[in-house]
Structure formats: structure tokens, C-alpha cells
């Protein structure tokens, strides 16, 4: 176990460095320069005296070779310092922490909602194969799964907020949010979450439901269930305790893959709904060539992804006693 964990950790570390190196060098290879971009955007372009522009480059260490810049960045990272944003000079860590709750809220709610609906739908379908519910839901899941999220969002916004005025069109809070009382604030937030959460959740729901159903079906054909059934275990108990437990195994893996998305956010949905979250911040940092913020987000998502993979692998034997850690699984 320790040897397995050690090897996996070493691999994860290696992958992590691979990613940071790739992003670090790639974003500097892409055309576009943070200093001139910032100057042209907000200052007076190249009218600024050259000494000032040079000084700004020096401060950001952009006058050094890229390898040296990376070494500095690594050294800072070792001290858990992600640097400061080129754009607003604030620590990258603060900026990430500031937007994190918004993104977690949106994606967490969507994932939770999707799971809460998907598990019963999938289990029910699997318990009665061929039943009308199973057949209809199979088709619906596939249709939902094929719907372009971008399109759904547009239709939802057009219908439910522009035409009917039921939900706010955009944003995470109303314009008068700061004037509201605590309870009203909560209501305001929930009200703003409905459409973006729905947009994010329906695809995940379809996916999880299909997944639950298929893993349930696979398990239910297994010999030990037949044996249990022969022993007279009730069908309900059979499904909920025996089959479900085993069907959850692949679910853990799939969930693990979903966790990093909770952090990285969805650029499209955040942009469409003007949701002030990490996905949008990251995208804008890429556009502005705000290297420290891009690297900060890369670190966050890479760590989350690698940790999720590691944990799901480690959890595997817990949910499925037949598997020993370190063993090849198909």
C-alpha cells in the first residue's frame, strides 16, 4: 500500500510539473504581451516613457529568460506564494479565494442536484428493465445528453427571464444586493442560481442517470445476486443494499473526475450568465496574458484533478473489497 501510494504520488508530482512547465512556456510562446496589452487597454499605449515600460517588465521579471522566470515561479510556489496579478497587483491567492465561493456554489449545486435526481432515476430504470419508465427515460437521457448547453441556456434565458420575467437574466446577485437583509440575500442568491444551475445540471443528470442504470444492470446479472435471490432476499433489499453498493464503485470513479470541474468552473456558463466565478476569471486572465493568475489557476485545477484521481483509486478497495490497492483493474 505504501509503495503503491509512493509511486502514485511520484507520478502525480511528475505530471504536475509537466503541466506547469507546459502552461508556463506555452502561454509565453503565444503571441501577445501582458505589458503592451495592459498599456494599450488602459494607459496611453506606447506614449509612456520607455524607462517606465522597462521598469514594469523588470518588476514582472519579464526581462529575464523564461527558464529563469520559471525557476523564480517554482521557488515562490515552494513558499506557497502564487505571486501577484499583473493587472491589479493583488496576490493571486486572494483573487482565487475571492471567486472560489461563487464557483463552488454554482457547480456544487448543479452536481448535487444532478446526483439527487439521477440516482433514483437510474436505479428505478435498472430495477424494471423494459418497463415504460425505463424505455422512456433511456430516450430522454440520450436526448438531454445531446442538447447543446449553450443553446439550452439561450432558450431558458429568452423564455424564462426575458419573456416571462420569472428569473433574473444575469449575474450572481441583484443590483441592490448590499441593501438586502440576510434572509433576502439568501433568497436573492437562490433566485439567481436557478437558470445557471439548470443549465449545468441537466447534462450531468442525464449522464449520471445513464451511468447508474448501466452499472446497476451489470451488477444485477451477477451470480452472487442470483444466489442472494435464491436465498430469498427481497427484491427491494436486493437492489438497494446488494446491487447498489456494487454499482457505486464505478460511480466513485466518475464522481472523482467531476470534482476538478467544481473548482475550475465553466467558462461558457459563467460568461453567458455573467457569473462572477473562477472560470471567467481564468479565461480573462488568459486573454490579458496575466501569467501569474493563469499559473495560479493551473496549479489549482491540476492539483484538484490529480488529487481526485489519486483518491478515487485509493477509495476503490473501500467500496469494493475484492480489489486490492495496487492491483490492475480493467
Amino acid at each position: 500500500m505504501a509503495a503503491w501510494l509512493g509511486r502514485r504520488l511520484a507520478y502525480a508530482l511528475l505530471t504536475f510539473f509537466g503541466i506547469t512547465v507546459a502552461v508556463f512556456f506555452l502561454i509565453r510562446a503565444v503571441p501577445g504581451d501582458p505589458v503592451t496589452y495592459h498599456l494599450m487597454q488602459s494607459g496611453r499605449g506606447l506614449s509612456a516613457p520607455p524607462e517606465v515600460i522597462e521598469q514594469i517588465r523588470r518588476t514582472h521579471r519579464l526581462d529575464r529568460p523564461v527558464t529563469v522566470q520559471y525557476a523564480y515561479w517554482l521557488a515562490d510556489l515552494a513558499r506557497l506564494d502564487l505571486g501577484r496579478s499583473f493587472v491589479d497587483r493583488r496576490p493571486v491567492r486572494d483573487r482565487i479565494l475571492e471567486k472560489l465561493p461563487n464557483t463552488l456554489l454554482l457547480n456544487g449545486a448543479a452536481l448535487l442536484l444532478a446526483l439527487m435526481l439521477a440516482l433514483p432515476a437510474g436505479i428505478f430504470g435498472a430495477a424494471r428493465p423494459g418497463h415504460w419508465f425505463d424505455r422512456a427515460s433511456g430516450v430522454i437521457f440520450l436526448l438531454l445528453y445531446s442538447l447543446p448547453a449553450f443553446w439550452v441556456a439561450l432558450l431558458l434565458m429568452d423564455l424564462l427571464s426575458v419573456r416571462l420575467g420569472w428569473f433574473p437574466l444575469l449575474g450572481a446577485t441583484s443590483g441592490n444586493y448590499s441593501d438586502l437583509s440576510g434572509f433576502e440575500k439568501l433568497g436573492d442568491r437562490l433566485w439567481h442560481m436557478v437558470l445557471p444551475v439548470a443549465t449545468l445540471a441537466y447534462g450531468q443528470f442525464a449522464f449520471f442517470a445513464r451511468f447508474t442504470r448501466s452499472s446497476m444492470r451489470e451488477v444485477m446479472g451477477a451470480e452472487y445476486l442470483t444466489a442472494a435471490r435464491a436465498r430469498g432476499v427481497g427484491e427491494r433489499r436486493l437492489i438497494l443494499s446488494h446491487a447498489l453498493r456494487n454499482a457505486l464503485i464505478p460511480m466513485v470513479t466518475v464522481l472523482g473526475v467531476s470534482v476538478p470541474v467544481l473548482l475550475s468552473g465553466s467558462v461558457i456558463v459563467e460568461t453567458l450568465f455573467a457569473w462572477d466565478g473562477l472560470g471567467r476569471m481564468y479565461y480573462m486572465a488568459v486573454l490579458a496574458r496575466d501569467y501569474p493568475v493563469v499559473m495560479g489557476m493551473t496549479v489549482l485545477t491540476a492539483l484538484a484533478t490529480l488529487a481526485a484521481y489519486l483518491i478515487t483509486d485509493a477509495l476503490y478497495p473501500v467500496v469494493d473489497p475484492r480489489v486490492r490497492v495496487g492491483g490492475e483493474r480493467s
Partner: protein, 567 residues
């Protein structure tokens, strides 16, 4: 029901869209009242301004810093203008009037400026604004170590030795050469030396501020809002409004909805919002819409170094294929105007007698034919010496307006056998390619200074990285006119030089000037005392917003009391 139009300016777009729209120290514009519906009739006890109340303004983006010397963006300038009084103010007629400096003298050789400070002027901690603070501020801005990218460009050529305090309230600022445009640079706030000289200037003053303005910062929630409270001991006429809240709302559609609900008192509108919503009863009953032009222009830059585009006749022929009237009528619903040269019609440097280039694709085709361009291979595209007449146009991916205009232009040019290849890239890529000269043509916009000097854009010494002559335009005649004009201190003579320059550039067409859309601004009708500057719009001039007031019967947003106390 409500159907707000949505111009594509979600935040990432805002980034791309405002691309190269260089925000300006001062803005000049011609104003026009859209609807001269005055104050609401029912309420409004009197026309005597009443003090108090809360004004909620909209900011398009959060500010990156509260340090006046480091500001760069429009929102930062808006917030700073209430926290710092400038040395010299600009009034509604764009004239420079006393601010902290109650008067000034310019030396015979026009290289020294002596400012006499108003001894009453104080910072919000009660200390007077001294000559040493002015020297400190200007030296700090000019010091490269400060990294003041925007403001430092106004003090190029500063002579530090002749920049000194003559006595407690008299200060001299010296330069190594005379510039007609220099005085306007003193429209900057003054930093108290005793506050800003302690600590790391670059890092310690981004979240805190001490200035001489009528308001002080009481609360700042990053990404949400900035709250300012009126000073009790302000040294000049006190503004009427007690509290100003800046709500940060990046999205135009969100802001417009908030303005309609009364959550914010003012916002800029998009052309589509204006067109679709201005006549709705629920809008006209609560919102006063103003329309004016600001000091900027849009253009197509032609890389004059490309052999094909080096010939002014080719550039003129291309300009003839842009149907400006159709764009104005169909895209801007008539609320835009044609611009013929490097100034806007609101600047006196602009020569109104220069005729615009008409939409005449047939004539363009004739010009190109006379230059030897024929469609010899019958592929629909003109060619010469085996090369097709194809031009690659760089576009910023998120800038919907330029994408739209480029496609209109592309369609018109295709009809006379000129192929435009539209290449969309992200804003940063576009800027770096434009500055490196790695492009044929691109759609851009410049925001202009109060002073009309276009030296940096068109003088042959200003090729990047020295300046912003990104089209590599070079004409000795134009160079001479610009050199003379920037040192010509007689206003009338200077204007005459710029009119000549305007003619030269209009004939050479280093750019194709497209159209200038007007700015549409919505203000809630509870705000009284609204006055437009005949030039600057609503803000950034004196007294401007300081004359606004809210009748007691129409107060809102006043509670809850802000946390913390005025500094």
C-alpha cells in the same frame, strides 16, 4: 415584457472590446439632449438644491488600485476624481480653470509653469495641500520606479531640477522643451507626501487613499461596490450628495435592467438598448436619456509598409467601398456620424470643410483598374503580376461591432474583386501583431486626449516601439505640420496647422476613418441639477456631478449605514 437588447459585452468581451480604446485623461465631446423632459412634475418640492441622499453609480469594472499615480482605467479615473481634487480643473466648456491652484503663470519660453496653490485646500486628514506635495506628486509620477504607465506619459521631458517648491504654496514645474499641450497635463490629483512617502509606494497604497477631494472612501467590497461619503470639512463649495455608491456591474444588459429597476441611478447604454427601449413608457417615466459624442474614433488601419497598401490611391479606393451611411442608419439607427480625419468634429482642430469620402465602389474599381489590377484568371478576384488583390484583416474576437462592420466592408469589396480575409484573434494577439507590424489591416479605435496633438499616431519618428504610428505612415509634409503645431503656442495658428494636417491625412488615407457612434447615457429622473457639459458629457468636469442633488422625497439606498468611519 421587457426585452433588453444584449450587446456582447460580457466581461471577457469588455476586455476585448475596449481593446486599444485608450482611455483618456480628459474627454471632449459635443453633447445633445435626447429628451429634454425636465424634472418629474408631481414631486419635487422646490428647485432649491437639497443636501443629502445617496447616488448609486455604475462602474463597468472594478478598480485595480486606489493609488492615483498608478491608475489606468476609466473606472479608476471616475472614482479618483471624487477623492482627489486636481491642480487644474476643466469646466464644461473644456477650459482649464483653477482647482487646487488658484492661478498659474507660464514663463516666457513656455518651459516653466508656476502654480499658486489655494491655501484653503486641505487633505481629508486636515493638513493643507502644500507646494511640496505637488512636487512630490509630479516627481513620483515621472519616476520610472513608480511604474505609472498612464500619467507618466504626460510628463515626458520633465526637468526635475526646475521642479521645486518656491514657498509653502508656490510651486514651479519645469520642462526641457515647450509644448502646446502641456498645461492640460496638470489636471491631476495631488498626493499628500506625508502619507504616501511612508511604506512601499507600489504595494501599500492600492487599498487605501488620502486625498483633497470632497469625498472619502468608507467601504470597498472587491468586485461588488465602492462607497464614498462626503467630507464635512471640504475646502470648496460642498457637493449636495451625501453618499456615492459605485456598483460594479460589468455587463451592459445587467446594468440596464438595474437602471430600469432603479437599483442604479446612471449607466451608459448600448445602441441596441437605446433603439429598442428608449420610447417604452416604463423607461420614459423614470429615466432621462442623454446622448453625446465622446473623444474617440474608429478606423481601419492600413499597414503602409505592405507594398499593396503603400499607395494612397489604393487606400482611397478601399475607403470608397465602406458604406458609412448604411452603417450609420442600420447599425447605429442614425446615432453616429462620419469622421474624415484624425480629430473629432468637437475639436477645433477638425476641419469641417473636408468632404467625406463617398461610397462609390464603381469609382474604386476604376482606380484599381487604372493601377493595373485586372481579373485575368477570372476567379472573381483582381490580380496583378500573378498576385491576387487579397488583404488580411485582423479583428479582435470579442469586438462584435468591428466584426459586423468588417463583414459589411468585405461584402462590398468582394463585389469589385477585392478579397478581404477576416482573421479573428484574441485582443492580446491582435495588439502585439499590430505593434509588430505583422498585419495588413486591422480595425481599431483610439481614445483621444483633450489636446488634439496626433504626433504619436502619424509622425514618422513614432513607429513602434517609439510610438503608436502602427501603420508606418510617413509623409514629410505631415511630419512638418505636426512638429510645428506641437510647438505653436498661438491657438489660432495651431488650429490652422491642424486643419492643413487634416487635409493631408484625409488625402493620404493612412487609416480609413469609419464612423463615430454617439454615447447614450441613462440617468434616473430623481436626480436633479443634471447639467451636460457642452463637450465632456456628465462626468470628469467641474462642477459637474457636484451640482447634482436628490429631493428629500425621492431618497433611497440611504440605509444601512456603512461600516467603518470616514478616514
Amino acid at each position: 415584457m421587457n426585452r433588453p437588447a444584449r450587446q456582447g459585452s460580457r466581461l471577457p468581451y469588455a476586455l476585448l472590446t475596449s481593446l486599444a480604446l485608450i482611455l483618456i485623461l480628459l474627454q471632449v465631446s459635443g453633447c445633445r439632449r435626447e429628451q429634454s423632459v425636465p424634472a418629474p412634475t408631481e414631486t419635487t418640492a422646490s428647485s432649491v438644491p437639497q443636501d443629502g441622499g445617496t447616488l448609486v453609480r455604475r462602474l463597468e469594472a472594478d478598480i485595480n488600485t486606489l493609488n492615483m499615480a498608478l491608475i489606468g482605467t476609466g473606472p479608476e479615473r471616475e472614482v479618483m476624481s471624487l477623492l482627489h481634487d486636481p491642480l487644474i480643473e476643466v469646466n464644461e466648456r473644456l477650459e482649464l480653470i483653477p482647482g487646487i491652484a488658484e492661478r498659474w503663470e507660464i514663463s516666457e519660453d513656455k518651459r516653466s509653469y508656476i502654480f499658486y496653490l489655494n491655501p484653503l485646500a486641505t487633505f481629508s486628514d486636515g493638513t493643507p495641500v502644500r507646494a511640496s506635495d505637488v512636487v512630490y506628486t509630479i516627481r513620483t509620477i515621472a519616476d520610472p520606479a513608480t511604474e505609472s504607465a498612464q500619467l507618466s506619459s504626460y510628463f515626458v521631458g520633465l526637468d526635475p531640477l526646475r521642479t521645486r517648491a518656491i514657498d509653502e504654496f508656490t510651486v514651479e514645474v519645469g520642462f526641457d522643451r515647450a509644448r502646446a499641450s502641456q498645461l492640460a497635463a496638470f489636471n491631476i490629483g495631488i498626493l499628500p507626501e506625508h502619507f504616501y512617502s511612508k511604506g512601499d509606494f507600489g504595494e501599500d497604497f492600492n487599498d487605501t487613499v488620502l486625498g483633497s477631494g470632497p469625498y472619502v472612501l468608507t467601504k470597498r467590497d472587491p468586485g461588488q461596490q465602492i462607497i464614498l461619503e462626503r467630507r464635512k470639512d471640504y475646502w470648496r463649495t460642498t457637493p449636495h450628495i451625501q453618499r456615492v455608491i459605485f456598483r460594479i456591474i460589468p455587463d451592459d444588459a445587467v446594468a440596464w435592467n438595474a437602471a430600469k429597476r432603479g437599483d442604479i441611478d446612471e449607466t451608459k447604454m448600448t445602441s441596441d438598448q437605446w433603439q429598442l427601449e428608449r420610447n417604452r413608457p416604463e423607461v420614459t417615466s423614470t429615466i432621462d436619456i442623454r446622448r453625446f459624442y465622446s473623444l474617440d474614433y474608429n478606423f481601419i488601419a492600413w499597414n503602409n509598409r505592405r507594398p499593396l497598401l503603400a499607395d494612397p490611391r489604393v487606400r482611397t479606393a478601399l475607403s470608397m467601398c465602406l458604406d458609412r451611411a448604411a452603417i450609420i442608419n442600420n447599425v447605429y439607427f442614425g446615432t453616429a456620424r462620419i469622421i474624415t480625419g484624425p480629430f473629432t468634429p468637437d475639436q477645433n482642430a477638425y476641419d469641417p470643410d473636408i468632404p467625406p469620402i463617398e461610397f462609390r465602389p464603381e469609382d474604386a474599381a476604376r482606380i484599381l483598374a487604372s493601377l493595373g489590377w485586372r481579373d485575368t484568371d477570372r476567379d472573381g478576384v483582381l490580380d496583378k503580376d500573378g498576385k491576387p488583390l487579397a488583404i488580411e484583416v485582423l479583428l479582435s474576437a470579442g469586438n462584435k461591432t468591428s466584426n459586423l462592420q468588417a463583414q459589411i466592408f468585405q461584402d462590398a469589396l468582394a463585389k469589385i474583386g477585392v478579397r478581404l480575409d477576416l482573421v479573428r484573434v484574441d485582443g492580446a494577439t491582435m495588439i502585439s501583431r499590430a505593434l509588430e507590424g505583422d498585419y495588413d489591416a486591422t480595425f481599431l479605435a483610439w481614445g483621444l486626449d483633450l489636446d488634439p496633438d496626433p504626433y504619436s499616431y502619424f509622425h514618422s519618428s513614432q513607429f513602434p516601439p517609439n510610438g503608436m504610428n502602427i501603420v508606418y505612415y510617413s509623409n514629410p509634409e505631415a511630419d512638418r505640420l505636426m512638429e510645428q503645431a506641437r510647438e505653436e503656442l498661438d491657438p489660432a495658428a495651431r488650429i490652422a496647422l491642424y486643419h492643413q494636417l487634416h487635409g493631408v491625412l484625409a488625402a493620404d488615407q493612412p487609416y480609413t476613418w469609419t464612423v463615430q457612434p454617439s454615447i447614450k447615457w441613462a440617468v434616473n429622473k430623481r436626480i436633479q441639477g443634471l447639467r451636460e457639459s457642452n463637450g465632456l458629457g456628465l462626468f470628469l468636469w467641474y462642477p459637474g456631478q457636484y451640482e447634482w442633488w436628490i429631493p428629500e422625497t425621492m431618497r433611497k439606498h440611504d440605509a444601512p449605514a456603512p461600516e467603518g468611519s470616514p478616514q
